[in-house]
C-alpha cells in the first residue's frame, strides 16, 4: 500500500495509477454467462444515458436544485447489483441514480421525481438525492455524506434477525470514510458480524477536494483494517471484477461470515454536482481515467470474445437513448404535486 503524499498545489497531485485486480477470497463464484455479461453492458449504457438525459433536462430547466451524476462509475452500480438477490437491501448516496436503476427503478418515475412531479418515485418530496423504492429493497439515501451508513447497518441487523440469508449492500464514496458515521457503522457491523457489504466508490474526490488532502492514504482498504474487516480492492471500472467481488462478499454474508469492505477504484467523469465544472482536476488525470471508461472497456471485451458486435452495441446504445428520451418526455408531461395535499400523512403513518 502506498501512502499518498500531501501536495500543496493541484498540479503536484500524483498521477493516476491503474487499479489493481481484485484480490478475492477464493470463494467459488459461478462464471457469468453470455446473457448476464451482455446485461451488464446494457445496464451500464442505460445508466450512462439516463444521466446524460438528466444533464440535458437540467439545462432545459426541468431538473431543479442540484444533481450528482455518476457517469464513469456505472461499473460499480451494474456489477455489484448483479450479485445481489431479491429481498436484499440496498442503500446509496446522493450519487445514487445508477444503483437504483441497476436495481430496477422505473425510469419514468425517476425522471418525474427529478422534475418534481406528483407521479415521481417519492411524489416529488425527495428529489434527486432521495430516490427510495422500498418494494425493490431500495431503502433510501442520505443526502448527508456518511449519514446513510448506520441505516444500512440496521438493515443488516434486520437481515440477520430474519435469518433468511438476506444482505444489506451500501454504496458510498471516498468522501464518507472520514466521518464518524462510517466508523461507527463499520465497527458495529463487524462486532455483530452483520451481513453488510460496504461498497466504497473511491473516485478520488470528496466533493471538490482530492483524497490526498483529506485522507492519509489512497487505498481505502486500509480503513477496514482498523475494524478487522475483510477488505477487497477492485478496479471499479471493470464491471465483472466488481460483480465477482460483490458476489464473494454476498456469499460470505449469507453464510454468516460477516461484513466485507469492497473498495472500487473509479472516477466520475463530471464534477461533484451540477454546478461544478471540476476545474480542480489535473487534465492528465482526467484523460487517463476517461481512457479507462468502464463501458467501452466492457464492450471491447465482449466484442473481442465474439459475444457482441459493434452493430449490436450501437443498437443497445440507441435503444437506451430512445428509452431515456421517452421516459423523460412522459415525466415532463406529468402534473405538479398539489400543495394542498395532506403532507402530515406523508410524514406520519
Amino acid at each position: 500500500m502506498k501512502a499518498a503524499t500531501r501536495s500543496k498545489s493541484p498540479a503536484a497531485k500524483k498521477s493516476p495509477t491503474p487499479a489493481p485486480a481484485g484480490k478475492g477470497h477464493n470463494r467459488a463464484v459461478p462464471a457469468l454467462d453470455k446473457a448476464k455479461r451482455l446485461a451488464l453492458f446494457q445496464m451500464m449504457v442505460r445508466i450512462r444515458e439516463f444521466e446524460e438525459q438528466v444533464q440535458r433536462s437540467y439545462l432545459e430547466g426541468l431538473v431543479h436544485g442540484t444533481t450528482h451524476l455518476c457517469q464513469g462509475q456505472e461499473g460499480v452500480a451494474a456489477g455489484a447489483n448483479l450479485a445481489l438477490a431479491d429481498g436484499d437491501y440496498v442503500s446509496y448516496t446522493y450519487r445514487g441514480h445508477g444503483h437504483c436503476l441497476a436495481r430496477g427503478m422505473e425510469m419514468e418515475t425517476a425522471y418525474a421525481e427529478l422534475f418534481g412531479r406528483a407521479t415521481g418515485l417519492c411524489n416529488g418530496l425527495g428529489g434527486s438525492m432521495h430516490f427510495t423504492d422500498i418494494a425493490k429493497g431500495l431503502i433510501g439515501a442520505a443526502g448527508i455524506v456518511g449519514g446513510g451508513l448506520p441505516a444500512a447497518v440496521g438493515a443488516g441487523l434486520s437481515a440477520q434477525l430474519n435469518g433468511k440469508g438476506q444482505v444489506s449492500a451500501v454504496f458510498f464514496g471516498d468522501g464518507s470514510v472520514n466521518i464518524g458515521a462510517f466508523h461507527e457503522s463499520m465497527n458495529i457491523a463487524q462486532v455483530w458480524r452483520l451481513p453488510v457489504i460496504f461498497i466504497c466508490e473511491n473516485n478520488l474526490y470528496g466533493e471538490f477536494t482530492r483524497i490526498n488532502f483529506t485522507t492519509p492514504f489512497e487505498d481505502l482498504t486500509e480503513r477496514a483494517k482498523g475494524y478487522a474487516m475483510t477488505a477487497v480492492q477492485v478496479d471499479g471500472n471493470d464491471v465483472e471484477a466488481v460483480y465477482r467481488a460483490t458476489a464473494e462478499a454476498a456469499e460470505r454474508a449469507r453464510a454468516g461470515d460477516g461484513p466485507t469492505f469492497i473498495e472500487c477504484k473509479t472516477y466520475r467523469h463530471r464534477g461533484h454536482s451540477r454546478t461544478d465544472p471540476a476545474k480542480y482536476r489535473d487534465p492528465a488525470e482526467v484523460e487517463a481515467w476517461l481512457a479507462r471508461d468502464p463501458i467501452p472497456a466492457h464492450r471491447a471485451k465482449l466484442v473481442k470474445e465474439g459475444l457482441l458486435t459493434q452493430k449490436e452495441a450501437e443498437r443497445i446504445t440507441e435503444e437506451a437513448k430512445a428509452e431515456v428520451k421517452a421516459a423523460a418526455d412522459r415525466a415532463a408531461a406529468a402534473p405538479w404535486p398539489d400543495p394542498q395535499q395532506n403532507f402530515t400523512a406523508k410524514m406520519f403513518a
Binding site: 446513510g148 448506520p150 441505516a151 406523508k346 406520519f348 403513518a349
Partner: protein, 326 residues
Amino acid sequence: MQTQEITYREAIAAALQEEMRRDPKTLIMGEDIGPSGGPFKTCQGLYEEFGHARVRDTPIAETGFVGAALGLAITGYRPIVEIMFADFLGVCFDQIVNGIAKHRFMSGGQFAVPVTIRAIGGAGLRFGPQHSTTAESWFMSVPGLKIVCPSTPAEAYGMLKSAIRDDDPVLVLEHKALLSSKGHVPVGSEATQPLTGPRVLRPGRDATVVASLAMVPRALAAGEKLASEGIEAEIIDIRALRPMDLTPVFESVRRTNNLVTVEEQAKLGGWGAEVAAQVTSEAFDHLDSPPLRVGLPEYPVPYSPPLEDSVLPSPDAIAAAVKSLL
C-alpha cells in the same frame, strides 16, 4: 383498574418487558443495557428474558446504533433505543433530525418509521453540565418527531407503551430525578397513555401553571403552598411537546386568567415561549397579566450542589412567580 405501587424506573422496565413480549419485532439497543440492566436499571430483567438478539449492548456509538434503528424500522422491526444521558442526543442529532424524522416524508410516505428513542435526562443529581440536560427543546422544531415527557410512573409506563406501538418516531424524554419516585401503575394491563395533550393534575381558579418532568412535582408542591395562603393554582402537566395540543391550557387560562410556565431549561427557545405565544393568540382577551415563564438561567447546569440547587426552580420560586401575577 388493578394497579401496583412501583417506581418510575420499574414502570419503564415493565413497559419495555410487556411490549417486547407482545411484539416479537421489538428490540432494544443501547449502552450497558444487557446483563447489567442499564446504567439507571431501566432495562432490568430484559436481557435475561429476551437474550442478546433483542437486548443489544452497543458500542459507545450513538450515531451508529440510533441510525441503525432507522434501518431496522423501515425493514420491518420496531426498535427501541436508550440514550444513557439525554445530553448524548447531541451525538446522534443528524440521525434523528435528518434521518429518522425525514425518511418517511422523503420517500413519499412509502413506509412507517416505528422508532422509539428513550433518553434519560434532567438535573438534580450533581452530574454537572454535560449530564444534566432535559433536552426538551432540542428537537421541538423538527417536524416528523413526536416528543413526550412523562412525569409520573403511570405516565412513564403508559406513554412508553404507546410510543413503542406507535408507527412513527417518538422521542421519550425521561427524567433521572424521577426514577425513584413512586406511583400507582396498571402493570400488566392494556392501559396505555395518549402521546398528546396536557393533563390537569390539580384544579384551581387563580392561575394556570404548566410544568414538565421534574418540574411537575415542584409545581404541585407550589400549589399546596399557595393553597395554604388561599391561592388556588391549576397545575397542568404538559406531557407532550410535539405535536403540542394546548386545548386544556387554553380552557384553563380562560378560567384563571393567568399563566405561568415552568421548565427545566433556559427560557430562550424553550417550550414555555411556545405555550405563552399560543395562549396569547388563543386567549388574549382572557389574560389579566402577561404570561410568565420560569426556567433556568442562560448558562449550563453547574455541578456544585448549592449552585445546582439554586438554578432549579423551587416550589417557593414557582409560588412566588404565581403570586407576582395576582
